[in-house]
């Protein structure tokens, strides 16, 4: 069952989400961006990743929290070490999942 009003909300939200996802990609790929703009855009992944990571580790439930409630803040230490050592995405993610499972088991 789908309620008409809920469907219209989802549809409206989908449209206003598609605009920022699609418009820059389609328009900016048509033109030659100034060199400095391109170099700025090359820093966007580092900037975004650091912001997403900081939020995921310090405020995993939406607001800042500390150990022992916030285990992400502990788990991130071995995960960063694995990432620096292996430089492997998949090993780091697998390691992170194992570390978090172990932490929950120990702190259980």
């Amino acid at each position: 069952m789908i309620r008409t009003e809920v469907f219209l909300i989802i549809l409206g939200a989908a449209i206003v989400t598609l605009i920022p996802r699609i418009v820059p990609l389609v328009l900016l790929s048509r033109i030659t961006l100034p060199e400095r703009v391109v170099r700025w855009l090359e820093f966007v992944p580092v900037a975004v990743l650091s912001a997403l990571l900081a939020q995921a580790v310090v405020m995993p439930e939406g607001s800042p929290s500390w150990p022992p409630e916030n285990l992400a803040m502990i788990a991130i230490i071995p995960v960063l070490l694995i990432a620096v050592r292996t430089k492997s995405l998949i090993k780091t993610v697998a390691g992170g999942v194992v570390v978090m499972a172990l932490l929950r088991w120990v702190m259980g």
Binding site: L52, I82, T92
Partner: protein, 255 residues
Amino acid sequence: MRDNRQADHHMNIPDTDLPEADSTPPGRGYADGIRDAVPVIMGYLAIGLAFGVVAKTAGITVIEVAVMSMILYAGSAQFVMVGLIAAGVPASAVIVTIFLVNVRHLLYSAAVSPYVRHLRPWQNALIGAELTDETFAVASSRLGQGGRAGAGWFLGINNVSHATWIVSTTIGAVLGSAITDIRALGFDFALAAMFAALLILQIVNRPAWMPAVTAAAVGGGVALCASLVVPPSWAIIAATLVAATVGMVLEEREA
């Protein structure tokens, strides 16, 4: 060196449409995209199940969850939307709020644009339609400076991630409270670990790592400070604008 790269950029990528055979890294196709998305799949399975359970508990039906994941496809925005619908907030206010939560995708879309100049507009529209924090993060880790993204490879990442999200959120809604402790296994930490790994990879792959490390420290700091005064998704925008500028300026000084 920088001038060479720029000249290269123009020579390789004229404004005329080219066949999509070229890709970065060379020869990566749809199946490689699926493989590159494995960390996203792990994270979306955990978060998607959790979302389905939360949505069902808040009175959203299974079909509504499925439709939401199909046409809206935005993790944090879907959590926000469910909360607002459950609270009886008017439709127009919900839609405006979701726009504000998702407007950060402007930055991801713009950052991908230099790598897809050889593709047709409809291909770029398809790539953009399924951009999320996570698919952008994975894709950008494979895009070198001045390179190109293959349409098939990018759509491989996007489609499998989206499919995982639809399936896991719907299963979560069907099972509802039957799933009590989905976090026990630690899969919900997969995305944080993925951001950490991709950040390290981004830093070590830059020509000079000092500007990138500084930008990352600034980005993390601004994201946390800004989260105290604005919604988290806006804090990401603020952090990105500041940190990317810091990184670019520092790199210019080193050159």
